[in-house]
Amino acid sequence: MTDFTSLTIAEARDGLANKSFTSLELTDAHLKAIEDARALNAFVLETPDKARDMAREADGKIGKGEGGPLAGIPLGIKDLFATKGVRTTACSKILDDFVPTYESTVTSQLWRDGAVMLGKLNNDEFAMGSSNETSCFGPVANPWRREGSNTNLVPGGSSGGSASAVAALLCMGATATDTGGSIRQPAAFTATVGIKPTYGRCSRWGIVAFASSLDQAGPIGRTVRDSAILLRSMAGYDPKDTTSVDTPVPDYEAAIGKSVKGMKIGIPKEYRLDGMPTEIEKLWSEGAAWLKAAGAELVEVSLPYTKYALPAYYIVAPAEASSNLARYDGVRYGLRVPGRSIGEMYEGTRAAGFGAEVRRRVMIGTYVLSAGYYDAYYLRAQKVRTLIKKDFEDCFAKGVNAILTPATPSAAFGVGEKGGADPIEMYLNDIFTVTVNMAGLPGIAVPAGKDAQGLPLALQLIGKPFDEDTLFSLGEVIEQAAGRFTPARWW
C-alpha cells in the first residue's frame, strides 16, 4: 500500500483515470502514513472521515467520467486556510477551537476540482516564522536529517507542516502561503517544490491574514509538474478579494517541457553575500550551467536595492500584521480571558493568546505606525519597496525572462538552534525570498542539490508578473538536471 504515497499527483491522476486504483485506496494509504508519522507533528488536525467521504465522492465522479482536474487527489491544507466546519487556528492559541462557517476561495477551488482533504497542517503562528517553531502546536520535524545524526531539524516556515508532510509522503501536495518566503524556504529545506505566484494570482479570501499586501497562497508539491497542476486549481480572480487580478489562468502544466532556448536568465550580483557558504555558491553556478545547457542565456543583472529589502520587509509586514491581528480581541470568537474591564479582557486575552514572536511583531508594527515614527519607518519602507519593484522592472525591461538565485542562505538547521537570543538571525533566512514579496512577483523554489551533510538545497527562480509559466518551464529544467530527492524514513 505504501507505494501509493510515493506517486506524484500526475501519476496518481493517470492511475485514477485508468481505474488502476481508487481515490479511497489512495486516501487510506495517506491516512495511514499520517498516523505513522505523528512524530513529525506535521498535521495539527487529521480529518479521516471527511477524507474518506470526499474520496468516495471523487470515485463516484471519476466512475461517471465527471472527475475534475484533481479528482481523488489527497491533499493537506495549511491551517491558515479557513475550512468550513473544520477547526482553523492559524496555529495560534488565540483562535482556540475556532470553526469557520465558510471555506476559503483557494480551498473551495481545490474541492471544486475534486481534491480530497486529509487534514490541517502545522505552521508558524499566524505564519510568522521561518522554522515552524512558533506554532502553538509545537515544532514540526523535517523528514530530512543530517547524515549520521538523530537531531531533529526544522522544516523551515511558516509552511513547515506543508513542506514536511509533502516531503514525508503524507500527502500528495499541500496548500501553503508565502509572505516573505514561507512557501519557498520550507520547500528548499525539504527538497519539495514550492511556488509563490504573483500577488493577486490567488484569492486571499478566507486565508487568515498576516500582511495583506504581501500574503499570497501557493502550492507545495513533490515535482514541478505537480506544483503546476495544483496552482492551476488554486489560482483565479475572486470578486471577494479586490486585490486579486482578473486575468485568465493558463494551463500551467503545458509549460512543463517547453523549451527555454534563448531565454535570458538574470544572475543578480547583489545576491552574492559575504560569507555565503561555498556549497550554496556552487549550487548556484551549477543551476546556471544547467539552464545554459538547455539553451538559456545568462546575464549578470543588478538589483541594487536588495540590501534594503529585509529591513523594509520587517517594517511593512509587522505594520500590517499589527492591524490585521487587532480583530483577535476575545469579543466575538476564539480565546477570551475574562477581566473586570474591557481593557483587562483585551490584555489578558492577547497576552495569553499570542506567542512571543507574534507579540514582538505586533509591537514592532504598532511602533512603526505610531505618530512621529510613521514617516521615518513605514513611509520610508514603502518608498524602498517602490524602488525594489523598480529594480526588477528595469531588469525585465532589458529582456530578462527570469532571475536565478539561491533559495536560502543555508540548509535546514536544528530545532532551537536559531533565533533564541536574536530574532534577526532567524529573519536572515528570508534574505533571498522577501524581495520577491516586496515586488509582488512570482518565485519558485526547486530542489537542486545537497550540502556536505546530505541536506537538500534549492534554487529560486523569480519571474515577471503573471509569468508563472516561464518559472515552471525553467524549474523543470533544473529538476531534470538535479534529479529528485527523497528523505530516508526514520519516523
Partner: protein, 492 residues
Amino acid sequence: MTATSGKLLKGATGDWEVVIGMEVHAQVTSKSKLFSGASTAFGGEPNSHVSLVDAAMPGMLPVINEECVKQAVRTGLGLNAKINLRSVFDRKNYFYPDLPQGYQISQHKSPVVGEGEVTVELDGGKTATIGIERLHLEQDAGKLVHDQSPTMSFVDLNRSGVALMEIVSKPDVRDAEQAKAYVTKLRSILRYLGTCDGDMEKGNLRADVNVSVRKVGGPLGTRCEIKNMNSINFIGQAIEYEARRQIEIIEDGGAIEQETRLFDPNKGETRSMRSKEEAHDYRYFPDPDLLPLEFSQSFVDELKAGLPELPDQKRARFVADLGLSPYDASVLVAERESADFYETVLGKLGSAKRDGKVAANWVINELFGRLNKEGKDIATSPVSAAQLAAIVDLIGEGTISGKIAKDLFEIVWQDGGDPKRLVEERGMKQVTDVSAIEKVVDDIVAANPDKVEQAKAKPAAIQWFVGQVMKSTGGKADPKAVNALLKSKLGV
C-alpha cells in the same frame, strides 16, 4: 473666502468672537453596507444584519460598494465641491468592542471629495457662505448594549460597517445661529440628493462641533470638540454654553485645554470626555486590502447629469418664474417634502402662473401653520395637494372668496371631500350677480341714512356697509362688486 461675522459675545474684557468648525457624519442611503452585502435597514433584531466581513471573521476582506461611492460623489457635487478621481482608504486603528476589525476603514489623507461650499440662510434675509474642507467615506461602528446584564455588556453589529460620509467644514462658522443654519442647510441638501435621510433622532445625521473663542481679529484660540450632537437645537445650546465657558476661563486668567467634550441636554452644559493626553494614536495607514478608489470624469459627469434640482436652484426658480418672495421661496424649499408638496399643488392648479403665489401663501400660512399647530407633518397632512390646489383654483376663478376659502379649508381638514363638490353642495359659491347684490346694498343704504351721511363725510366709513352686505349674504357676495356698488350708490 472670508467668514460672515456672527454674534459677538460680551465678556468682562471686551467682545469675543466664536470660531466654529463642524464635522457632520451622515449615514449614506444605500441598501447594503460600505464593504459588505449586509442590509443597512434600521431596527432589525440585534446582530441580524451582520456579514462575515462586518463581524471581522478571520480571512474576511472588504469589497467597496459602488452605490456608496456614487452617493458620496453626488453629495460632493451638491456641495459644489472638487471630486477626487483617485482617493485612498486608510485604516484608523483603535480597540473597542463595537469595532470588530480593531480598525475603522476611513479616508485619512486622500478623501473622495475635496473643497466646496454651502450658502446658508440667516435671519433677516442675510446669507453666509461656509467652506467645505472635505468629505470622505468611512465605516460606522456597532453599538454596545449595557442594560441586558449586571456584569456584562453586549454588542450589536447591525450598524457595523454601514457607510458614513464625514463632511468637514472649514472653521468659517461664527455663532450658534450660523451653525444651526449650516446643519439645517446641509441636511436639506442631503435629503434633496437622496444621499442621506437626515434622520437625526436615529443618529443618521450627527455632528461633532469644534468651538474656540478669540478676541475680534486676534489669533485663533484652543478648540474643544463637542462630540455626537444629534439635534440642531442642542448644537446651538452647546455652542452658546461652550463659548461662554471658554471666555470665563480665559478672562479668569486660565487657559483652554484641547479636549473632547459631551453636551448634556438636561443640564444644558458640556462636560469633559477625554483630554488631549488621552487622545488615541490611530496609526493611520493605507488599507492594504483595498486598492485606491479610482473612477473617471465621465463617471462623475453622469452622476452630475442625474442630480435633482437642489434647494438653492429651486428657490431661485420659484422667485423668478412664480414671483414668490425670497422668504416664501426659502420656506418652501427648506424641506424637500414641502417643496415637493408645493410643486404637486402647482402641477394640479388650473393656472400655476396666475395662482402660484396664492398657492404658496396657502401652503405656508394655512397648511403649514395648521400642521405646526397640531404637531403634524406634511406626510400626515389631512389636506392633500390636490385638495389644496382645488381650493386655490376656486379662489383664482372667483368662485369663492378668500374668506369662504378658509371655511372650505376647515371643512376639508376635518371631513375631507372634493372642494369643488363641497362648494356646490353647501352653496358656498360667491354671489357675483350684481342685481342680487344691488338689492341688498339698496336695502342697507335705505335703512341707515345716518351711516350714509358719515360715509359721505369720511369715505373710510364705507367699510361698515361692506361688512353689513357680507353679513347679510353670508360672506358670499363678491367683495369687488360690493365695493363698486357702494361707491356709486354713496357717491364717494
